[in-house]
């Protein structure tokens, strides 16, 4: 379906099946694929901040998607996804091998159960009853879909349930047929709703279940359609697991300990986690596997993410009403050469006048003679200025400097060529944009970096750019968005977004204080004349010892310290800070990179690299000042 602005189709839950295939990018599955069999042998936790792509990933494994994919496997547009899932071992030319049972938990019913004024055991009974009922209903419907039937009651009789007899195990009513099982599950679901909505709740509850017994029923080995086993394996996918606040840990423990016949994947937002669990990185333990989406993309799969985002952008652009063949066609990727031509003399003259010393004459000649376009030359000149500043700031001085403060020895080209690298040039480019008010944040690559490895953030940024592209088309102007306009749009919407984030997160004022202070440190360090951390500083780091202190501060008496840790956690949960463990020599650091949107607002580079060490006590001081 052609949409006016397909970048605005965000909520994975609301995308139709045909939209899904048009918009989904198979590369995103790489984040799961690398774990191989561990995905099926262990309980898998998939975690991210909102919009990280959890729900989209889970949807791929649902029966309707897999069945459609199987049916269309030879069609060109479906082949890439089919091949990727074939590598997972869950689909092939002989059919679909996986029964995916997706239970979204965002629905208020589960939270309503938690809020009921009942003893815990009764609430637990309701919760598990609802889970079991829904698992059974979805499994039966899924079985029909995988077998090519409509998921309606008319076809339930096609299913045969072969329940294994286990001594000593108590099942709910013994089911002779799938229709009976289905009816039983529907009745349970209705009873739970009635119990929740009734004034007279207490009398309606019987202790029906206290575990996921349904997972043993829906083992694919037990389910036959037309005499054939429907799949080789099954996975229960619990989406938005963070919605079940109070029962979360108990259910997780129960799932891991019970070792059901069916794999379990749990997708949840970081907001559900305590600080230990928030910190990097992916964990593979004996019984469970944890995948942090944004962190994984950032730390291990950077290039794949760039590729993924670009593909997503192009797919969406192609599916628009005012379609283009690629997203790059909507935007201008480079500044006009004329701008660089006008900048070059300004930059070079500035350096000539600021540093007239003979010492750097060879460097200046090198830049003058450099064979490149105006942009390359401008950057080179500005990079030279950084190197000159570095030279000036060196502690070791020549004896003549003590006489007139100037080192008269001419520095050779070799030293220049040795020091000039992409980082220095990166810093130079940034400094030029800041000094001469030239756009910096434009182009697809920068847009992808601005997303901080969050797909929804990326789509949201693109949607505003695309809106203006459409506007240009409508008023018959050159539709491609210039670098100036790209930066202006991004600046406006990012400031609005940050205002919204700061307004809605817990500990708002402390979160903002911490982020403002971190950004100030980054700015200060980045814009030092000698750019010691070229291309710039975009994060802070705390020591390993301070990281351990964070856990202690969670329960400490000192309110200020508690708030400090809570505020840092909030920053991480909302993707304002991206944590990464870095080893430097013998020391381990927890680096907290700021969300790239904040880099734009503070005119910082978008690369991940430079960081500045701070102490947890310093952060606590910021919070303390704010509390006064």
């Amino acid at each position: 379906m052609k949409r006016r602005n397909p970048f605005k189709v965000l909520a994975a839950e609301r995308i139709t099946e045909s939209d899904f295939f048009n918009l989904f990018e198979p590369t995103s599955l790489y984040i799961l694929q690398r774990y191989g069999d561990a995905l099926w042998d262990k309980t898998v936790f998939i975690r991210s901040s909102p919009g990280g792509g959890k729900t989209t990933l889970l949807h791929v494994f649902t029966p309707s998607i897999l069945r459609k994919l199987y049916e269309k496997r030879n069609a060109k547009e479906y082949k890439p996804l089919f091949n990727v899932l074939n590598n997972f071992g869950i689909i092939g030319n002989d059919g679909v091998h996986l029964l995916g049972i997706l239970i979204p938990l965002k629905e208020r019913t589960y939270a309503n159960i938690e809020d009921l004024d009942l003893p815990d055991n009764k609430k637990r009974a309701l919760l598990y009853s609802l889970f079991n009922a829904r698992i059974i209903i979805r499994a039966l419907k899924g079985a029909l879909i995988l077998s090519g039937y409509e998921p309606t009651q008319d076809f339930l009789s096609k299913i045969e349930i072969k329940l294994p007899l286990r001594d000593g195990e108590r099942w709910a009513p013994f089911f002779s047929s799938a229709p009976d099982l289905y009816d039983w599950a529907c009745t349970i679901e209705e009873n739970v709703y009635r119990a929740i909505n009734d004034f007279d709740i207490d009398n309606n509850i019987s202790s029906i279940s206290s575990n996921f017994f349904a997972l043993n029923i829906v083992n694919p080995a037990n389910i036959l359609v037309d005499g054939n086993q429907i799949a080789d394996k099954a996975v229960l996918m619990l989406d938005d697991f963070h919605s079940i606040r109070n029962w979360r840990e108990k259910i997780i423990r129960e799932i891991i300990v019970s070792r059901y016949d069916v794999s379990v994947w749990i997708a949840e937002r970081l907001e559900a986690l305590k600080s230990d669990a928030l910190l990097p990185g992916d964990k593979q333990e004996r019984d469970y596997l944890t995948i942090y989406l944004e962190q994984s993309w950032q730390q291990e799969l950077k290039n794949k993410y760039m590729h993924l985002a670009a593909n997503i952008a192009n797919k969406r652009a192609k599916s628009a009403l005012y379609s283009v063949s690629s997203f790059e066609e909507c935007i201008v990727e480079e500044l006009d050469e004329k701008i660089w031509e006008s900048l070059l003399p300004k930059i070079s003259v500035d350096i000539e006048t600021t540093y007239p010393h003979k010492k750097y004459i060879k460097w200046k000649q090198y830049c003058n003679n450099f064979l490149g376009n105006s942009k390359e030359k401008s950057i080179l000149w500005r990079a030279m200025k950084i190197l000159i500043e570095r030279d000036i700031s060196k502690k070791q001085k020549q004896i003549t400097e003590f006489l007139d403060g100037i080192n008269h020895n001419v520095i050779g080209i070799e030293s220049f060529e040795k020091q000039i690298d992409s980082n220095i040039k990166g810093a130079a480019r940034l400094f030029i944009s800041n000094e001469f008010k030239v756009p910096y944040y434009f182009g697809l690559k920068k847009l992808i970096l601005l997303s901080s490895y969050n797909i929804e953030q990326f789509l949201w940024l693109c949607s505003h750019i695309f809106d203006e592209y459409i506007a240009n088309v409508l008023i018959k102007r050159n539709p491609r968005i210039t670098p100036e306009r790209q930066q202006s749009i991004l600046e406006r919407i990012i400031k609005m977004r940050l205002t919204d984030i700061y307004r809605t997160v817990p500990h708002q004022e402390f979160v903002k204080t911490i982020m403002d202070n971190i950004c100030n440190i980054c700015k200060k360090e980045t814009y030092r004349k000698n750019a010691p951390y070229a291309p710039g500083v975009t994060g802070v780091a705390i020591s390993f010892e301070d990281k351990l202190k964070m856990s202690k501060w969670q329960t400490i008496d000192d309110k200020n310290k508690r708030i400090t840790v809570q505020a840092i956690e909030t920053c991480i949960k909302n993707n304002l800070l991206l944590p990464k463990t870095v080893n430097q020599g013998k020391k381990t650091w927890l680096v907290l990179y700021i969300n790239r949107m904040l880099c734009l607002v503070n005119r910082l580079p978008l690369q991940y690299g430079g960081w500045k060490a701070i102490t947890l006590d310093r952060v606590a001081k910021w919070v303390s000042k704010n509390r006064k």
Binding site: E468, L474, I475, I489
Partner: protein, 366 residues
């Protein structure tokens, strides 16, 4: 393609830059999708964006268009079907049930007002509930949905129209008797089985005049008045259906403060001896949303772009010289998904065929 033309026209009439167009279209598209496109009285193929473009194009200059656009953005109130349905879904549990519970508590000293749950489980409540009759004042009452959302009520106590026949009244009485006998669990007198509470439901009222009004000669008119006249007539089937002094409740899903007050006052001063009178608006529209005549910029537009052909004998009933600010001068900025009430400013609902076409043209009801 038509949408593209409409957006182009919009950009042209509003003289928007690409930047402004991008921002405004984002907002307009979202609102159109969520609400405005569902307006039922657009011509075929017309949607909100097209209607807005055409509407704005009628104003002579850019300043007027900006004023009109600002009004649409900041003051317009559009009640969608889903929003109305939401009101219907909550009316029994959030309002009506509480009224019935309060009546039970009042009549029974044993019940405490702090223990609603206990009262709701009592036989007295079941009896009082069954002795309540629910009638629709118009098809806007959505009695079909009300019935489905109010599962605690019997179908026998809900009827889509307030103006029902004598034969129907007789059947209602019979059914009431049978149900009360079952609920009370004992023998009861047929003649004692009468409705104690009458709930008249409707979707919207801005002035209340169509429900009850007093003419210059002191006589009354209106739907509620007609209903009460019938109840207190000589037809035994009606007089025996209701208690001599029953409780009358008017439930509006959406109503203005003005309408609620008007209906309350007139009912209290009417010649009918009612026990209790209650008028409720589940979604109250407060006075501050009204467009006043002292709103200089918008008032100029309202005056300039008014077509007198919009008036008819029904609009005069409102008591104003014209309907620039809507029927009875209500001055509402309100549109309902199925029709724009004529209590809203004329700029909004002016008929399709008139010289100035409204943004949400109205279908005449009379």
């Amino acid at each position: 393609m038509r949408t593209e033309l409409a957006e182009r026209l919009l950009a042209k009439v509003m003289a928007w830059t690409a930047e402004e167009l991008a921002q405004e279209m984002s907002f307009l598209q979202a609102m159109a999708k969520v609400k405005y496109d569902e307006y039922q009285n657009y011509l075929h193929g017309m949607r909100f964006i097209e209607s807005l473009a055409v509407w704005l194009n009628q104003f002579k200059n850019i300043n007027e268009r900006k004023i009109a656009y600002e009004f649409v953005k900041k003051q317009l109130i559009f009640i969608s079907f889903n929003e109305l349905l939401h009101l219907v879904s909550i009316v029994y549990k959030d309002r009506i049930k509480k009224i019935i519970l309060s009546n039970v508590i009042e009549e029974n000293n044993d019940f405490s007002p702090y223990f609603y749950q206990r009262v709701s489980r009592s036989k007295e409540f079941e009896i009082m509930k069954r002795k309540s009759l629910f009638l629709g004042l118009s098809d806007g009452a959505r009695i079909d949905y009300f019935r489905r959302f109010s599962r605690e009520l019997s179908h026998e106590q809900i009827w889509p129209i307030y103006d029902f026949s004598s034969k129907k009244a007789k059947n209602m009485k019979k059914q009431l008797f049978e149900d009360l006998r079952v609920i009370s669990g004992k023998n009861i007198e047929f003649n004692d089985c009468k409705f104690k509470n009458v709930f008249l439901l409707d979707d919207f009222s801005a002035s209340g005049l169509s429900y009850i009004r007093m003419n210059s000669d002191g006589t009354y008119k209106g739907k509620i008045y007609s209903f009460l006249e019938k109840i207190y007539s000589e037809d035994e089937n009606f007089t025996e259906l209701f208690e001599e002094q029953f409780n009358l409740y008017i439930i509006l899903y959406i109503g203005t403060e003005k309408a609620v007050k008007h209906i309350e006052t007139l009912l209290e001063n009417s010649p009918f001896k009612l026990n209790k009178i209650g008028v409720y608006a589940i979604q109250m529209l407060t006075e501050d949303i009204r467009i006043n005549q002292d709103n200089n910029n918008l008032s100029k537009l309202i005056d300039t772009y008014y077509d007198q052909a919009i008036e008819d004998q029904h609009t005069l009933v409102g008591g104003t010289k014209n309907v620039k600010y809507g029927f009875a001068g209500c001055g509402l900025p309100v549109v309902l998904h199925h029709n724009t009430p004529n209590n809203s400013i004329a700029l909004l609902w002016s008929y399709e065929e008139l010289e100035f076409r409204g943004l949400f043209p109205r279908i005449k009801r009379h």
